[in-house]
C-alpha cells in the first residue's frame, strides 16, 4: 500500500468545524422539542414513601410527569448488567426511575416533561417527595466494615471478588529474601466531558419508528437497548451519535435511564423530547472512577528484583454495577506493567457504597494499578539503596521474552499476552529525555533558589484494541467521493482524519475526496463502541480491509476496460492506471459508474453506465454471478486478542516550602503505540491524557461527606486543571509494531493519563522526603504531611547505586 497519508501528521479535518462553533452537538438538535427535567434523590440512601405531584399539575406548559409506576414491560425491570462475569456474584442495577429505594444522591425519581426546560424545572421544583432516610455507606473502608449495607440482600457490601494468580504467591513470598507490606489510597475523579450526556428522541407515528440522538460512545448498543426496553423491532429504531463533546468513558455506559425515558416520552407524547444534562446532574448522576484502597506485599532479592507480588484491592464501585467488573479486572491484570514478576496474585474486592456508580474513566483501573506497582518499585529502591530507575530496569520484561504470557485473563475474556514491546529501550529514552542522571545538579540549583525539586518516573503497559470486532463500509461514488463509515463513535479523537488517512492510503485517492461517518446506525449497524483505546486498532484495520476490498473490485473492473491484468494496475490520485504506461488509465469515479450497470441516465455520469453506452459483452449478464452492483465493500476486523501499548513518564516537580505549592517543572513522555497513523493526533492524545493525569494527581477529587453528599459538585470546587495548570509535555516516540494486526497499530487514547499519579507522587516524595501514600495531594495536604510523623524517605541517586548494577 502507498504510505502517502499513513504515518503523516495530517491536520485534523474536524477541527475547523468544531473550533468555529459549527459542530452539531446534542443540544443543537431539536429546537422545537419538549424538554425533560428530573427530580433526583437528595439523599444518599432513602426509601421513597410518597410522591405528591399535585402542586406541579397547575404549571402552565407542563406536559407529563412520570414515576416508576408509569413504567411498563421491560422498562419496569432493572437496568441491564451490561457485562456479566462469573465473579460478579451480587450484581445490582437501578431502575430507570427509582422503584422504592434511592441508593445515591442524584438517582432519578420523577421525570417531568414540559414545553421547555425552564418550565420543566419549575414543575420539578413543586413535586414533593417524602423519604425515609436509611443508613449511608461512603468510602471503601465503611463498605468493607459492612456495619451498614447499601443493598439489603448484599450483607457484606461485596459485589464481586475478582481473583487472579499466576502461582503460589504465599510460598514465593516466604521464600523471598526481603518483603515489604504497605497500604495506600487512591481517590475518585471522573471523566467530566465538557458536554454532558444528552438524548433527543423523535417518534414517527405513521412509520412506528424512533430516531434517537444520544451523546454516547456506543450508538449501536444504545439502539439495541432501546429496542429491547421499548419492545420495538430493531429496524424501527435508529440511533445517531452527533458531534460529542468528549466522553472519556462515562458515555460508554448505557442505556442510561434518560436514554430509555426520553424515547418513551417521545412515543407517548407523539412529539420530539429532549434532555440535556446539566453540570450538577453530571456530577451526581453519571459516573465516577478510581477510588481504591490497596494492600500490597512484595518479595524481592538483594538487587531489588521482585520475586513475588501480592495485591489486595478494595475497590469502590458505587451504588450499582451496570458495567460489571471491568475496572477491577483492569487494575488486577494491568498492575504489573512492564515488569517480569515470577509469581503474582491480585484480589480485588469490589464493594457497594451509596455514591454515584463507578465505571471506566480514561485509564479505567490502570492508573490505580500503576500507582500500586510504581510506588512498590520506589519502596524497593529506597529499602535497597538503589536508584529508582535502576530497580525498574532490573525488573523489566526483556525484548526476547515476547510474546509474554502472564497466565492471566484480560478484560476481553482472552489470555493476557503481551504481543510486543521494547521496555529497556523505552526506559533508556526516558532517562535521556528527562536527564535522569543529571538531576542532582538541577536539584542543587533549585535549592539555591529556596525551592525543593523532585523527580519521579512511572512506566506502564496498556492493553488496547480489544474485540470482539468492528466493521467498516467503504464506497466510491460516481462523483469520485469516497464514503467511509464505521459503527463506533467519535468524541473528538480525530477519527474523521485517521480513518480518512487509512482509506485514502489504501485506495490511492486524495484525502479531501474521503468523507467519514461514525456512530450512525443508519449507516453501519454492527459495532461495539469507542472505549479501551480501540478505535484505531479495530475500526482502523476494518477501514483498511474494506478499502482494500474496494480497490480489488476497482482494479478488476478497470482491468476489463483497459484490457490489462489487474496485477499490473495501480491507483494514484484517484486514477487507475497501468503501471509504467502513462495514458493507459481510467478515473476511479468512472470505474464507480461502470460498477453499477444502469437503465436510466439521470445524469451525465450515469449515461456512461447505461445499456447502449458501450459495446458490452452479450455473453454475460450485466452483473456477474456472485458480484454486486456498486463500487463498495464492507469488511470486519476481529482481533485475536488485545494488543499492548506501553509508555513511560517522568516528571520534575518544584515545591515552594513557604507555600507548599506544587509546580510541574518538566513532564516527559516516551510513548509506544506500535505503528503510528498520525503522530500529531497521537501527541494530542498524549497531551490530553497528561492533562487528566495531572488533574487526578494534584487537583481533582470527589468530596463526599459522611452523609453521601457530594460537596464539590460544580466546576468552582471540583478543580479540573486549566491550560495554565497543564505542563508542556516533552514527547519521544518509540514504535514497536503489533504482530496481531496487519497495520501493526496499538491503541493510544488512554495512555497519557495512566502513570500521572504514580510519577507525580514519586516526584513529590523525592522533593519533600516524606512518604506519599495517598493521591491526589494538594498544597494544604502536603503542608499537613510535612508537619506529620509521616515516614521520612531518601532516594538514592543514579551515581550512588551505579556500582551495584
Amino acid at each position: 500500500m502507498t504510505t502517502k497519508f499513513f504515518g503523516e501528521p495530517v491536520r485534523r479535518r474536524e477541527d475547523a468545524r468544531l473550533i468555529v462553533g459549527q459542530g452539531r452537538y446534542l443540544d443543537d438538535i431539536g429546537s422545537g422539542a419538549y424538554e425533560a427535567a428530573f427530580v433526583r434523590s437528595p439523599y444518599a440512601h432513602a426509601r421513597v414513601l410518597d410522591i405528591d405531584v399535585s402542586a406541579a399539575m397547575g404549571v402552565e406548559g407542563l406536559l407529563a410527569i412520570y414515576t416508576y409506576e408509569d413504567l411498563t414491560g421491560p422498562l419496569a425491570e432493572p437496568l441491564p448488567v451490561l457485562i456479566p462475569h462469573p465473579q460478579l456474584t451480587s450484581p445490582r442495577t437501578g431502575y430507570p426511575l427509582v422503584k422504592a429505594v434511592a441508593q445515591h444522591v442524584g438517582e432519578p425519581i420523577v421525570m417531568v416533561v414540559a414545553t421547555d426546560r425552564y418550565i420543566a424545572e419549575d414543575a420539578a421544583g413543586l413535586i414533593e417527595v417524602s423519604y425515609e432516610e436509611l443508613p449511608v455507606v461512603v468510602g471503601v473502608d465503611a463498605a468493607e466494615a459492612a456495619e451498614r449495607t447499601v443493598h439489603d440482600d448484599v450483607p457484606d457490601n461485596v459485589a464481586a471478588r475478582h481473583h487472579q494468580e499466576t502461582g503460589d504467591v504465599e510460598a514465593a513470598l516466604a521464600a523471598s529474601a526481603h518483603t515489604l507490606s504497605f497500604t495506600q489510597y487512591f481517590e475518585r475523579s471522573a471523566s467530566m466531558p465538557m458536554e454532558g450526556k444528552g438524548v433527543h428522541a423523535r417518534w414517527d407515528d405513521a412509520d412506528s419508528s424512533l430516531r434517537v440522538y444520544s451523546s454516547t460512545q456506543a450508538s449501536t448498543s444504545v439502539r439495541a437497548a432501546i429496542a429491547a426496553k421499548l419492545e420495538l423491532s430493531m429496524e424501527k429504531v435508529e440511533v445517531i451519535a452527533p458531534d460529542v463533546g468528549g466522553g472519556f468513558g462515562v458515555k460508554i455506559v448505557h442505556p442510561w435511564p434518560e436514554e430509555l425515558l426520553v424515547p418513551m416520552a417521545a412515543r407517548l407524547l407523539g412529539h420530539e423530547v429532549k434532555w440535556t444534562e446539566d453540570r450538577r446532574e453530571h456530577f451526581i448522576s453519571s459516573a465516577h472512577e478510581r477510588q481504591q484502597r490497596q494492600e500490597i506485599t512484595v518479595g524481592y532479592d538483594d538487587d531489588g528484583r521482585i520475586t513475588a507480588l501480592d495485591v489486595l484491592v478494595w475497590h469502590d464501585n458505587g451504588a450499582y454495577t451496570p458495567y460489571g467488573i471491568i475496572v477491577p479486572i483492569n487494575t488486577a491484570t494491568q498492575l504489573c506493567g512492564p515488569y517480569d514478576i515470577p509469581v503474582y496474585r491480585a484480589r480485588v474486592n469490589s464493594v457497594y457504597t451509596n455514591t454515584v456508580i463507578v465505571t471506566p474513566y480514561r485509564g479505567a483501573g490502570r492508573p490505580q494499578g500503576t500507582f500500586a506497582m510504581e510506588r512498590t518499585m520506589d519502596r524497593i529502591a529506597q529499602e535497597r539503596g538503589i536508584d529508582r530507575a535502576l530497580v525498574r530496569e532490573r525488573n523489566l520484561i526483556q525484548p526476547d521474552q515476547f510474546p509474554y504470557d502472564w497466565g492471566l485473563t484480560f478484560q476481553d475474556g482472552r489470555p493476557l499476552i503481551y504481543d510486543s514491546g521494547d521496555y529497556p529501550a523505552m526506559m533508556a529514552k526516558l532517562k535521556v529525555l528527562v536527564d535522569w542522571d543529571g538531576f542532582a545538579e538541577r536539584r542543587a540549583a533549585a535549592e539555591a533558589r529556596g525551592k525543593l525539586l523532585g523527580i519521579g518516573m512511572a512506566p506502564y503497559v496498556e492493553g488496547t484494541g480489544p474485540g470482539p470486532y468492528e466493521g467498516a463500509h467503504v464506497q466510491v461514488l460516481g462523483s469520485g467521493k469516497v464514503l467511509v463509515s464505521t459503527g463506533l463513535t467519535s468524541q473528538g479523537q480525530g477519527h474523521e482524519t485517521v480513518f480518512a488517512q487509512l482509506a485514502a492510503s489504501e485506495l490511492g485517492v486524495p484525502l479531501e475526496d474521503v468523507e467519514v461517518t461514525t456512530g450512525d446506525t443508519r449507516r453501519f449497524g454492527y459495532a461495539v463502541g469507542t472505549f479501551a483505546s480501540r478505535a484505531a486498532v479495530v475500526s482502523g484495520n476494518a477501514v483498511a480491509l474494506a478499502a482494500r476490498g474496494v480497490k480489488e473490485k476497482a482494479l478488476r473492473i478497470a482491468a476489463e476496460v483497459l484490457e490489462a491484468d489487474p496485477a499490473d494496475l495501480e491507483i494514484d490520485e484517484g486514477l487507475v492506471q497501468v503501471k509504467g504506461t502513462p495514458g493507459a488509465s481510467i478515473p476511479l469515479r468512472t470505474v464507480a459508474v461502470l460498477s453499477n450497470p444502469l437503465r436510466y441516465a439521470f445524469d451525465e455520469a450515469a449515461r456512461q453506465a447505461t445499456q447502449f453506452a458501450g459495446p458490452g459483452d452479450d455473453s454475460k449478464p450485466p452483473v456477474a454471478v456472485g458480484d454486486a452492483p456498486g463500487l463498495e465493500h464492507t469488511d470486519y476486523y476481529s482481533p485475536l486478542r488485545s494488543t499492548f501499548a506501553s509508555g513511560a513518564h517522568a516528571v520534575v516537580v518544584e515545591i515552594d516550602p513557604a507555600t507548599w505549592e506544587i509546580a510541574i517543572e518538566q513532564y516527559a513522555v516516551v510513548h509506544d503505540c506500535g505503528t503510528i497513523i498520525n503522530p500529531m493526533i497521537v501527541e494530542g492524545q498524549v497531551h490530553g491524557g497528561v492533562a487528566q493525569g495531572v488533574g487526578g494527581a494534584l487537583y481533582e477529587r470527589m468530596a463526599y461527606d459522611r452523609d453521601g453528599q457530594l460537596t464539590n459538585a460544580s466546576f468552582m470546587d471540583f478543580l479540573m486543571p486549566y491550560a495554565s495548570e497543564v505542563p508542556d509535555v516533552d514527547i519521544d516516540h518509540q514504535s514497536t509494531p503489533s504482530p496481531l494486526n496487519a497495520l501493526g497499530i496499538k491503541g493510544a487514547g488512554e495512555a497519557g493519563v495512566i502513570p500521572g499519579s504514580a510519577a507525580i507522587a514519586s516526584a513529590i516524595e523525592d522533593a519533600v522526603g516524606r512518604r506519599i501514600a495517598a493521591m491526589p495531594i494538594s498544597p494544604t495536604e502536603l503542608y499537613d504531611l510535612v508537619r506529620s510523623d509521616a515516614e521520612r524517605v531518601t532516594n538514592s541517586s543514579p551515581h550512588d547505586s551505579g556500582a551495584m548494577a
Binding site: 426546560r117 425552564y118 424545572e121 419549575d122 421544583g125 446539566d278 453540570r279 450538577r280 513557604a658 507555600t659 507548599w660 505549592e661 487537583y699 468530596a703 460537596t711 464539590n712 460544580s714 468552582m716 470546587d717 478543580l719 486543571p721 486549566y722 495554565s724 495548570e725 494538594s778 498544597p779 494544604t780 503542608y783 499537613d784
Partner: protein, 293 residues
C-alpha cells in the same frame, strides 16, 4: 440549571431604578455585571422576583481619578479599571488587584462595584476598599449617603444596605506619599478565588524607615479587615526591615476558616508568607517612589 421565573426592569435613571426597587420590595435584585448573581439564579440558589438591570442608567460607567483618590462608577467593568493608567497612578492597588480578578471573560462583564456590593470576603476589591480606607456612595429613596467600608461590610455576602438602594460608586483614596503597595494571591488554579490573598501598603518616613505597614487579606475571615503590622517593623530601615516578623505577627492576628481547598492552619501559613513577600515588594516600591519623587 435554569432560573426560576423573574421579572425584569431596565430603568434609565437612578431614580427610576429606586422606584422599581421600592415597588418590588425585598424580592428585587440589582443586576450589573451578573457574574455572581446569574450563576446563583441558574442554580436556583437565589430566586429574586425582579431583576433591576442598571446597565442602561447613564453616568455610572465613569472612572474619575483625582488627587485625593479614584471614584469608580457602578458600571465600570474590572477590565476597564485594570486598563486605567490614571487610576493606577493615583492608587496602584486598583490595577494590581483587578489583574487577579478571575479570568478576562469575567473581568469584561463583572463590575468592581458589583463585586464590592456582593461583599464576598474572597473578593479582591472588598479587600482593596478596606485597605485603602475607601467608601461607597449609596442612593436610596431618601437621598445619597457615603458609607465607609467598615460600616458597609457586615458579614459574608452581607452589607449594611437594606431596602431599596443602588450602590452608585466606590471611592478608593489615593496612595499616600512615601508609600508603596503590593498584592499577591495563591489560588489552586490561575484565576480561581484565592485560597489566600494579601494586599499591603507600606509607608516610610523621611529617613526611609518604615512608619506604617498595613495588610488586608482575601479568603481569611468573614468580612474584610485591615491588620496593622507596623509594630513588627516600625522604625526599621526599609531595605533591611524584618518582613518575616511582620508575617508572623499577621499569622497570629488572623482567624481563617478551613474548607475543601485549605485548612485554617494552611491559610495562616499563607498569610505569613504572603505578608512577608508583599511587604518586601511594597517597601521596595515605596523606596523607589521616594527616589524618583
Amino acid at each position: 440549571m435554569k432560573p426560576a421565573p423573574f421579572g425584569y426592569a431596565d430603568p434609565t435613571s437612578v431614580d427610576e431604578a429606586l422606584d422599581v426597587l421600592t415597588a418590588e420590595g425585598e424580592g428585587a435584585k440589582v443586576l450589573a455585571g451578573g457574574q455572581s448573581l446569574l450563576p446563583l439564579l441558574s442554580m436556583r440558589l437565589a430566586a429574586p422576583t425582579t431583576l433591576v438591570d442598571i446597565n442602561r442608567v447613564p453616568g455610572l460607567d465613569q472612572i474619575s481619578a483625582g488627587r485625593d483618590g479614584v471614584r469608580v462608577g457602578a458600571l465600570v467593568r474590572h477590565a476597564e479599571l485594570l486598563a486605567s493608567a490614571e487610576a493606577a497612578g493615583v492608587q496602584p492597588l486598583l490595577g494590581r488587584a483587578t489583574a487577579n480578578v478571575a479570568h478576562p471573560a469575567i473581568r469584561n462583564r463583572g463590575t468592581t462595584v458589583g463585586s464590592i456590593a456582593h461583599a464576598d470576603p474572597s473578593g479582591e476589591m472588598t479587600a482593596v476598599l478596606a485597605l485603602t480606607d475607601g467608601s461607597v456612595t449609596v442612593a436610596t429613596p431618601g437621598g445619597r449617603e457615603t458609607i465607609g467600608w467598615g460600616d458597609f461590610f457586615l458579614g459574608p455576602l452581607e452589607t449594611s444596605v437594606h431596602g431599596p438602594a443602588v450602590v452608585l460608586d466606590a471611592f478608593f483614596p489615593a496612595l499616600p506619599e512615601r508609600s508603596g503597595t503590593a498584592f499577591a494571591e495563591i489560588a489552586r488554579r490561575k484565576g480561581d478565588y484565592a485560597v489566600c490573598g494579601a494586599g499591603v501598603v507600606v509607608t516610610l518616613d523621611a529617613d526611609r524607615r518604615v512608619s506604617s505597614a498595613r495588610a488586608a487579606y482575601l479568603s481569611v475571615g468573614l468580612v474584610p479587615a485591615v491588620h496593622d503590622l507596623t509594630d513588627a517593623v516600625v522604625g526599621q530601615p526599609v531595605d533591611s526591615a524584618d518582613w518575616t516578623a511582620a508575617g508572623e505577627l499577621a499569622r497570629g492576628l488572623v482567624d481563617p476558616d478551613g474548607d475543601l481547598h485549605a485548612s485554617a492552619d494552611y491559610r495562616r501559613l499563607l498569610v505569613a508568607t504572603l505578608t512577608a513577600r508583599t511587604l518586601a515588594d511594597a517597601g521596595a516600591e515605596a523606596l523607589a517612589r521616594m527616589e524618583t519623587a
